[in-house]
């Protein structure tokens, strides 16, 4: 039988403590998390950048979203449930950032600083869409993005934004008309 030194015992104890801390803190294992992250991170970044109007904010909040998801301790019923919860966290973080010192949502926010693809015929049209999105209210931006970029159902949107499902249809109708009007006015 090999001799076990005091140092070995201390190292083993430290390893056990580290493992316990990680297990207690995080609800998903590494493989599951990485697969989920790879499936959702690009779309989530798009949601964060377009609803906040600031790519730097999206970069900052992206990791915080996943950290809070892992710490949430919610028993998710499905992939969609987990994804909707992630978007709810993102929505709350963007709202908190708006309340902070950084003026993310100044009225008439111009988001044309976002990079546009060079050499494409629809550059101006896309810039117009961004400017129009920037003039929408934060909730309208989130509504439209969830509905048409994410393809979320009314009940999913309601869950993410924390409003009644019955209200979504009307809110979407108004947001659509507002965006279309601004796009039409520019064209």
């Amino acid at each position: 039988m090999a001799d076990v030194t005091c140092l070995d015992v201390r190292r083993l104890h430290a390893d056990v403590l580290d493992t316990d801390a990680a297990d207690v803190a995080l609800a998903m294992d590494e493989d599951a998390f990485r697969a989920f992250y790879d499936r959702t991170s690009r779309a989530l970044w798009g949601y964060l950048s377009r609803t906040s109007g600031d790519r730097q904010v999206a970069d900052d909040l992206l990791q915080e979203c996943y950290y809070r998801l892992l710490k949430s301790r919610v028993a998710f019923e499905s992939e969609a449930h987990r994804r909707n919860y992630l978007y709810r966290i993102a929505t709350n973080l963007v709202r908190d950032a708006r309340r902070g010192t950084r003026p993310l949502f100044a009225e008439g926010l111009d988001v044309s600083d976002l990079e546009a693809p060079q050499g494409q015929a629809d550059v101006e049209q896309r810039a117009d869409v961004r400017r129009a999105m920037g003039r929408l209210k934060p909730r309208e931006r989130a509504l439209l993005w969830l509905a048409y970029a994410q393809g979320s159902s009314h009940s999913e949107i309601a869950g993410v934004l924390g409003v009644k499902t019955a209200s979504i249809k009307l809110l979407l109708f108004r947001a659509r008309r507002k965006l279309a009007s601004m796009l039409e006015a520019r064209s």
């Binding site: 990680a22 207690v24 995080l26 998390f33 991170s41 990791q63 693809p117 970029a149 006015a185």
Partner: protein, 145 residues
């Protein structure tokens, strides 16, 4: 929605509006997806673990801080008691102590409890010693953990 916006959109049907919006946002979503440069999942997982461990360690340190504070308070109390006794020993004589004892006894005579009694003094002393020992023992136990 402003009056101007309403007027511009009034000629369009809901289906046309929805088509315009859906197309615009879908194109924008494709652009956003192309722009996105999220850190790799391995890096995010590693950072998340580091942060979780750091928070767990900070949480675990809180009880130790409380024990430290209690131990320091007990130590200060013990030190003050020793200083008090030492000062009395240096300054006083046996006659002086006896005088104080008698004065205290006469003052406490009117109280319902006999605080100057032998058993009461013993009980109070034992209680004080137990509190000090318990504080030191708690400190030693939590400090090892």
């Amino acid at each position: 929605m402003s009056r101007k916006d309403t007027n511009v959109a009034k000629d369009l049907t809901d289906a046309e509006i929805e088509a315009i919006v859906a197309e615009s946002i879908a194109a924008e979503a494709a652009m956003a997806s192309a722009e996105a440069q999220p850190p790799s999942s391995a890096i995010v997982w590693w950072r998340t673990q580091m942060r979780a461990r750091q928070e767990a360690a900070q949480l675990a340190e809180r009880p130790i801080t409380i024990v430290h504070a209690l131990s320091i308070a007990a130590g200060i109390g013990l030190m003050l008691s020793v200083i008090g006794y030492a000062a009395a020993g240096v300054k006083g004589s046996l006659a002086w102590i006896t005088g104080v004892w008698e004065s205290t006894a006469s003052l406490a005579a009117g109280l319902p409890l006999d605080l100057t009694g032998r058993w009461m003094s013993l009980t109070l002393t034992l209680t004080l010693v137990s509190v000090v020992i318990a504080s030191v023992a708690a400190y030693v136990i939590y400090a090892d953990e």
